[in-house]
Each structure stands twice: as structure tokens, then as C-alpha cells.
């Protein structure tokens, strides 16, 4: 059974923008999938639909065999963690409290109202922080950390959920190359060691080639490529990055020459 099954999912925003047009994909458990495509191709919308942050207008998403709907939204979110481009940490809370946020779905609201966590939740948070190498920063305020460190806290929060799937929406787009490399390696290591299914949106073709088992190319709200990194030929890249109504695109040739 697939970890994620996407069946003819479409998304049209109230302003008329068609972000997704009939996406079909099966994502296998324990795979590392990179979604590649130009800005505005619908990559972010696709990931947000998978976590229920956006509701699809058509089609259905099944997580581990369960169809995502209003009724089981919070339950499924607990097993589908999300990592964001802008990290989306709560600035004023400590690093460890941010990580503990990942445990909220497993607990009732009474204890969390008073910021009380069980010892086993603290242990989960401690392990997650150790995995991303930020144990010493546990009690710092989240906004005092560098971008790369904040993203590692974001990943620790995702790990604390003990998820089946981690969705990462352009996790390295705001980071420098060294931090980007660290984050990608961390996500890959999580896939390898914990067997967590990872889906990553990326801009960088070289990172996609090096880290992915499978690449899904999107353009204009459709899947235009689906294969292994080895199958990602220059021709396939042209299909993914081509712009509408431009037959001879110098910028495209120049950009892909170094990809």
C-alpha cells in the first residue's frame, strides 16, 4: 500500500487561479521523493493539500489508506509532519517548547493549556533535538537562532510528531549552500534510518539529483515528469522548466546548462 495516494487532485483558488489540474501519484513508504518545478508550478499547493492546509477542489488524497477529510484532518496531520520554507517556528517560545508542539496532537488540551508535558514527551523532544544536533540550544528562544538552526528545529518538531511522512516545502530556499546541504543530508538520513517517507519541494536541480530516489516534475499545475534522477535528461528538464509561449528561451538554455 502506498504511503500517499494522490488521485486526480485539482485545486482552484477562489480568485480563479488553477494551481493543480488533475494530479495523480503514488508515493511508496520509505521513499525520498523530490518535487521539482518552476515557481508557480503548484508544488507548494500540492504539499499543502497533502497536509490539509488547503482543501482540494476535486479528487482525493489517501494517507496510509485513509482518505483525508474534515473528520480525520487532525488525526492524519499528526502522522504527516510539515517543514516550511520560512521555518514557521513560534519566535517567542524556547526551542524545546517549539519541538514539544509536535506532541500536541497526541495530548488533550488541558495539560497543554498550562504548558505541562509528560516526561515521555520531554524524552521524545530531547531525542529529536539530539538528532538535529541542537541539544545545547534547547532553552534558547527560537528567534535567537540562525536560519539553518531554525530549520533544524523545524525538522526536530516534525520528528517529535513520530510521523509516517515528512513533507518539506522548499526547506532550503532561504538558506545558504552549506546550511542547505546540511538540511538535505538530515532529511535523507531520517529517511534512511527511521524509514520515514519524505517528500521535498525543491528549486535546485543538483540537490534533487543527488538526494532523491524519485523526481516528480511539475509545470503549470500538471505532472510533466516522473522518474529516477538518472532519467532526468536535459530534454526532461526543458519540459519541466519551459515557459508558456516561448519556443526559443535563451534564459532556459543558460540556466539548464549549469544544472
Amino acid at each position: 500500500m502506498s504511503a500517499i495516494s494522490i488521485q486526480s487532485v485539482s485545486k482552484r483558488f477562489p480568485n480563479g487561479c488553477e494551481a493543480l489540474m488533475g494530479i495523480n501519484a503514488e508515493i511508496q513508504p520509505g521513499s525520498f521523493t523530490v518535487v521539482l518545478g518552476p515557481s508557480g508550478a503548484g508544488k507548494s499547493t500540492l504539499l499543502r493539500v497533502l497536509n490539509g492546509l488547503e482543501a482540494s477542489t476535486d479528487g482525493s488524497v489517501r494517507i496510509g489508506g485513509e482518505t483525508l477529510g474534515k473528520g480525520n484532518l487532525r488525526k492524519l496531520r499528526a502522522s504527516v509532519a510539515m517543514v516550511f520554507q520560512q521555518f514557521n517556528l513560534v519566535d517567542r517560545l524556547s526551542v524545546v517548547t517549539n519541538v514539544l508542539t509536535g506532541r500536541l496532537a497526541h495530548r488533550s488540551w488541558v495539560g497543554s493549556l498550562f504548558y505541562l508535558f509528560r516526561t515521555e514527551d520531554m524524552e521524545v523532544a530531547r531525542q529529536a533535538l539530539a538528532r538535529v544536533g541542537l541539544t545545547d540550544k534547547a532553552w534558547s528562544r527560537a528567534d535567537k537562532l540562525s536560519g539553518g538552526q531554525q530549520q533544524r528545529v523545524g525538522i526536530a518538531r516534525a520528528l517529535a510528531q513520530r510521523p509516517k511522512v515528512i513533507l518539506a516545502d522548499e526547506p532550503v530556499a532561504s538558506l545558504d549552500p552549506v546550511a542547505s546541504e546540511e538540511i538535505m543530508a538530515l532529511l535523507r538520513e531520517i529517511r534512511d534510518r527511521d524509514g520515514i517517507t519524505v517528500v521535498v519541494n525543491l528549486h535546485q536541480v543538483d540537490l534533487a539529483r543527488r538526494f532523491a530516489d524519485r523526481i516528480i516534475g511539475m509545470n503549470g499545475g500538471r505532472v510533466v515528469f516522473d522518474g529516477t534522477p538518472a532519467e532526468l535528461s536535459p530534454q526532461a528538464l526543458r519540459t519541466i522548466y519551459q515557459r508558456e509561449g516561448m519556443e526559443h528561451d535563451n534564459s532556459l538554455d543558460l540556466a539548464l546548462a549549469y544544472a
Binding site: 487532525r74 496531520r77 499528526a78 516550511f84 508542539t101 509536535g102 496532537a105 518538531r157
Partner: protein, 269 residues
């Protein structure tokens, strides 16, 4: 598009587009005319004001010798007034804490709760605290309790609205970050909401406390106890010395609160 297209797309002439109209002189002229019309309509006479200054000077000079002989009683009365304001603020804080998240569009669990919470806050804000104090004095008798309740109900409306608006300005990404973990409504409010607006919320609460101390001094006039009642009595007895002392005690208290809240806000960084 290629490089040649970019070169040939250079505009033929480089003058700026027409300057947008500047409406400033019209606004200034309109304001001045309106102000003049108001003065004319209300029959405000600057002559009477000039003559009045001398009289006012004479009146204020009667407050020249504050009489602190009964200071311990004044301080006790000020204490009662402070307590009234403090309890009123605590009540407002409690109500706002529960209503504000419901009245914030981005946190409200459903549109009905949002509308109801908004309307409750509007209603509380629309009831003047002097009127509420009269009602509560009639219902509960004289004393600081009706004063505290009146202040609480009225300022809960303000505090709730301020908090709700701050909550609506919380970064959408932060809300999504917490929501994406599967957190429910109270958890989203406690982890994405309140921590993000803590500083603003403290500022608003201190402002409301400051306002309630000033208002609690006035509420004494309608029988809600405290220093206001004493001031009312001494004024009616034309006891200017004692009145001056009472006013100075109130002034000193407000100054202390102002400095204390500035210090507290600085501490929170």
C-alpha cells in the same frame, strides 16, 4: 524572450509620467474652514476666555495649600480605589482571555462563534462604565464591588477587541506551523497565538489598568467607594486644602503606575 528583445524594448523617451495630484493643500484648507465654522457655530468667544483667565487663576490659587493632615486615610482610600481598578482589570483580562481567540478571524473555530464573540465584546464596550456602576450600585449596594464589576465589564470589551486584533496579525506561517502538527483550537491559541502577542497584550493590559485607576477615582462619585467619594465630599464642602491633597495623591499614584508599567515593558523586551 532573449537578450535582443530586451535591448530593443528601451522606451523612446525618458521623461517621467505625469505627476500625481497632491491633495494636501485642499485637506489643510478644509480643516481650517471646518474649525472656524465650529468656533462660529458654538459661539466661542476668545474675549471671555481672556477675562476668565484671571478668575481661573484666583480659583486655582485656593488649592495652593494642600492639607495632608489626614494622609493615612487618603492612602487607605487610594488603596481601595487601586484594589477596585485591579479587580476590574483582572476580570477584564479573564473575560478577554477566553473571548479574544474566538473573536479573531484566523483562530475562530467557526464563523458563528466569531460573530457571537465579536458582538458580545461590542456590547460590553458600548456600555459606559459610569452607567454600569449606577446599575451595579443599585443592585449590589454601595462599595468597591459594583465599581470593580462596572470597570471589568466595560474594559473587557476593549481588552478583548485589542487582543483579537493582535491575534489576527499573528503571522499566518506561525499559525500553520502549529496547526500542521494536528493541534486543536485551544492548543493553537496557546502555542501560536498568545506567545506571539505577549508583548502587545501586556502593553494593552497595563494601559487598561492605568485607565481603570483613573476611572475608579471618578466612580466614587456614584457611590462605588474609594478616593473619588472623599474628593467629591471635600469639593462640596469647599475644603480646598484637603481636595488638593487628594488630587495630589491620585496624581502620584498614576505617575507611579506609569513608571512601573514602562519598567515592566522594558523588562519583557
Amino acid at each position: 524572450m532573449n537578450i535582443h528583445d530586451l535591448k530593443s524594448a528601451r522606451p523612446p523617451q525618458l521623461s517621467l509620467p505625469p505627476k500625481p495630484r497632491n491633495p494636501m493643500p485642499v485637506w489643510v484648507a478644509t480643516t481650517l474652514v471646518t474649525l472656524w465654522l465650529i468656533v462660529w457655530d458654538l459661539d466661542i468667544s476668545f474675549e471671555a476666555l481672556v477675562y476668565g483667565v484671571a478668575d481661573m487663576g484666583e480659583y486655582f490659587s485656593r488649592y495652593g495649600q494642600p492639607d495632608f493632615s489626614d494622609l493615612s486615610r487618603y492612602l487607605e482610600l487610594m488603596g481601595i480605589t487601586l484594589a477596585t481598578a485591579l479587580w476590574g482589570t483582572a476580570f477584564a483580562l479573564l473575560v478577554a482571555f477566553f473571548l479574544a481567540p474566538l473573536a479573531a478571524r484566523n483562530f475562530a473555530p467557526n464563523p458563528v462563534a466569531y460573530r457571537v464573540a465579536r458582538e458580545i465584546l461590542n456590547f460590553m464596550r458600548a456600555m459606559p462604565d459610569l452607567l454600569l456602576a449606577l446599575i451595579f450600585v443599585a443592585a449590589l449596594g454601595l462599595g468597591p464591588l459594583p465599581g470593580a464589576l462596572a470597570l471589568g465589564v466595560h474594559t473587557a470589551g476593549f481588552l478583548g477587541k485589542f487582543f483579537a486584533e493582535s491575534l489576527e496579525r499573528v503571522d499566518q506561517g506561525v499559525c500553520e506551523g502549529v496547526a500542521a502538527t494536528g493541534a486543536n483550537f485551544p492548543q493553537r491559541v496557546m502555542y501560536a497565538g498568545w506567545p506571539s502577542i505577549l508583548r502587545e497584550a501586556l502593553g494593552y493590559t497595563l494601559y487598561i489598568l492605568d485607565r481603570n485607576v483613573r476611572m475608579a477615582s471618578v466612580l466614587g462619585l456614584v457611590g462605588a467607594g474609594g478616593i473619588g467619594l472623599a474628593l467629591h465630599d471635600t469639593l462640596r464642602l469647599f475644603d480646598y486644602g484637603q481636595s488638593a491633597a487628594l488630587i495630589l495623591v491620585i496624581l502620584a499614584t498614576i505617575l507611579i503606575i506609569d513608571y512601573a508599567s514602562a519598567w515592566l515593558r522594558g523588562r519583557l523586551g
